[in-house]
Amino acid sequence: MSETLYAIAVDVNGTRRTARVPARLSLVDWLREELRLTGTHVGCEHGICGACSVMLDGEPVRSCLMYAVQADGHRVTTVEGLAHSDGSLSVLQDSFCQAHGLQCGYCTPGMLIAAQSLLDTTPRPTDEQIREAIGGNLCRCTGYQQIVDAVQHAAARLAAKT
């Protein structure tokens, strides 16, 4: 039995991507397996760990809890979309390196998406606001303090730039 395919057009990191997808294909599987954007990680696959976070129309969501077909007509930003167009790291990404905001790196794409979404609306967050923003993202290595430090470091660097 052949499965019905649905035509979709999604703005992914500023590029219009089109595909024909089955209704059951999750957004994260489409991003990783068909677009080969493997920066977004798949952790729990049921909305607990936050590793699959992407921005949908600029707001962080879990891409394992959406179907690709639902992204039709919307704008998706993955962790690849945070870096500069020449591939160099954004201030936030670089701050994660400088402040040792990662160890194994599994949670990092989700943390970066959550943190970037926070900085987009709250350029100088308090530690509490950072903890609230990354509250839906699990890290099993660093214990979060260095992640909070990394976001603060990025906020300070971005403020110094402007």
Binding site: L56, P60, L65, M66, Q70, G73, A114, G135, G136
Partner: protein, 284 residues
Amino acid sequence: MRAGSVGEACELLRESGDDVKLIAGGQSLVPMMAMRLTRPGRLVDINEIAALKYIAIEADVVRIGACTRQCVLERDDALAARVPLLRQALAWVGHVQTRNRGTVGGSLAHADPAAELPLAAQVLDAKMMLRSTAGVRSVPAGEFFVGPLTTAAEPHECLEEIRWPVWSGRRTASVFTEVSRRHGDFAIVAAAAQIALGDDGRCARASFGLSGGGTTPLAFPKLAARLMGTRLEEAVVQSVAHDAASELDPGSDLHASAGYRKHLAAILTARVLHAAHAQARNVK
């Protein structure tokens, strides 16, 4: 199937029989599907129906479209001024990523017995407007929540709008609190209260409820009536809180025993009643 209108969604539900689910934000349904706890043959997606996304503030009621995202409610200051309990409850709901996608109607229709929005609906006696191809009917929260993950909505009905009563008294305040293992997790026990004081400082209107202590969130109108005319003195609050806790029939699981849940229920009830009273008293 993506529905373009509520009418189309109802039509799709009607023709699909029982093997169909509406999908709104998907923050509860998709995990259940991922774990194969539910396997609907067809999903009707209502996310793109703009007519289901609104917050309409009227004199004595706020009407909210069922597919309005939780983050939109959370940020709406005019809503917070009229129905403060909603923002207070949402502070405990999931995380940024889930509130950005999760909808108010989805949480109510999912009817998790430990979820926050169903408790707020019980405490405020919100009305659920259910649409089918046959028309619209209104079901009060007290009749809507039937059991765990079970509501009075028929398989062919779509929750279209939720009507939240606005308490008109100037000295009105509400409080929501809960105990959970981690912030953002479902509550072990949650409690919410709304109190209105008259000009004489005595309780003119009161409502409170609990979740996590049974198969649905519960409101206690008869017990709340005992607060009327009082100044929420310690004795009456304790008596009401203990009677509410004793009406619960919680289960035991690895997170909390039934005894602990009842203990928490009495403490949290007293806490929200006192806190709401104190806030109402401080309204200038």
